[in-house]
Amino acid sequence: MGALRSLEKLDRRWIFLVVGLLVLFPLLWPLDLPLYVSPPVQAYHDAIAELPDGCTVLVSCDYDPASRPELVPMTETTLRQLFDKRCKVVATVLWNGGAGLVDQVLRGVGEEKQRVYGVDYINLGYKAGNEAVMVLMGQGIASAFPRDNSGLPTRGFPIMREVRDYSSFPLLVSISAGYPGTKEYVQQVQGRFHIPMVAGVTAVSAPEFYPYLQTGQLRGMLGGMAGAAEYEKLRREKGTATQGMDAQSMAHVFIALCIVLGNVVQWTRRRRDAA
């Protein structure tokens, strides 16, 4: 009882310290905890694996550096899987702060897989207008994005000769951190143009996309760092998401323990007060 009473007055900074240590130690000394692939992640992987080799895929990266730990690993793995199938990638950005980061990721993976900018992939960069841009792309990708991220005319690139509108893509990959992003693509593009779609989203927004999975509006989904790590496992990669999962698991176990202890403390206090 004395221990429970002392927990009532526990300085919350001890909790911060323990969470910090539980995150730090597995990053320095990995525990290699088991990781299981969930059905939405498997479906995401399979949707890309089933694409015809050499097709052109639209990848909309709607995030900024704040979501880097969760969304950059899944973007990199997605690009690697697409490039391994010799698919061409047309990337767009609807978040103003994200164009530079997405360019860095695209060029990094492009260089790693020896793909040529403008021929195998292109970054159309940022365009203001949110849902209006999504609808405009349905009338023509090059009309919506007349210039690429570097300011060069889009129509001059070989990759854009095969690209007209959404009908040019057998799959839309939406990797998003919020508005505008996956939800708006489902509403404005998937519902209207009936293009198959998969999504990679931040963990905090993942629950709102499960209904879209259930109805088949999304073929597959990666939810947060766990989704990215499971995807890396399927692809036999060991990226930053996989490296972070031990720390993630340890922190979750501790927070769950805190919730249980907090309830026990609250329950005993109520009983004590009632007596």
Partner: protein, 224 residues
């Protein structure tokens, strides 16, 4: 395991600012205040400049400059598919938004706001109707038997959850009797969904912490 400290000045600045922000977890202090004010100021300045160069210049200034400098056809050749001259109208509406800064003519900004709200209400309504309302309604109409035990059980749980959760939000009658019982079942389903949401939120926040630690360990300290 060995240490390879970064020689990049930018990495040091980012690492120290991260530590300054973390110091708030102990207590409020001048280092935290400095990093907080720097972040707010730099972010505001960065986004103003970014928006000017990525929104105003390519979408308004450059097309108008091309058209009115005679480099790109007639200014108002809409019949030829060139609408660039007409960009004067959205440009003017954009300027009207700033009339809010001048009390007496502030009402002019409502014209621009009316257009923005009208366009987005239209887009959102059709998008929601197609992508959410109809599709989700179709997805909710599931056969309750004939698809195997697991699928049937899942469909029953789904249907019970759907109906009881919806009835919880029916406020035209007091939640007593049968309605009260069903509402209580709805509460259970809602609590499960809040729990899942909380779990995912924790994962998201811990991911951000992991990202910062990976930066400090890998990019700054270079521990391998």
């Amino acid at each position: 395991m060995s240490l390879h400290l970064s020689h990049d000045f930018g990495v040091w600045v980012a690492a120290l600012l991260t530590l300054f922000i973390f110091s708030f977890l102990y207590k409020d202090n001048p280092f935290y205040k400095f990093a907080e004010h720097l972040f707010v100021g730099v972010s505001a300045g960065y986004y103003i400049i970014l928006n000017f160069w990525t929104v105003v210049v390519p979408n308004l200034w450059d097309p108008l400059l091309q058209v009115f400098s005679g480099r790109a056809g007639a200014p108002f050749a809409a019949s030829l598919g060139d609408y660039r001259g007409w960009l004067l109208l959205p440009g003017l509406l954009g300027l009207l938004l700033f009339t809010r800064l001048f009390g007496r003519i502030g009402w002019l900004s409502r014209w621009s706001l009316a257009l923005i709200i009208g366009v987005y209400a239209g887009l959102k309504t059709t998008g929601f109707a197609q992508g959410d309302f109809v599709a989700q309604l179709q997805g909710s109409l599931q056969p309750l038997w004939g698809r195997g035990l697991a699928a049937d059980l899942s469909a029953v749980v789904f249907t019970v959850g759907l109906i009881s959760s919806m009835l919880f939000f029916f406020f035209s009658r007091e939640h007593k009797g049968a309605l009260g019982a069903v509402s209580r079942v709805g509460i259970v389903f809602l609590m499960v969904s809040f729990g899942a949401g909380y779990g995912y939120t924790v994962m998201s926040r811990v991911s951000l912490l992991i990202g910062r630690f990976q930066y400090l360990i890998g990019d700054w300290l270079g521990i391998r």
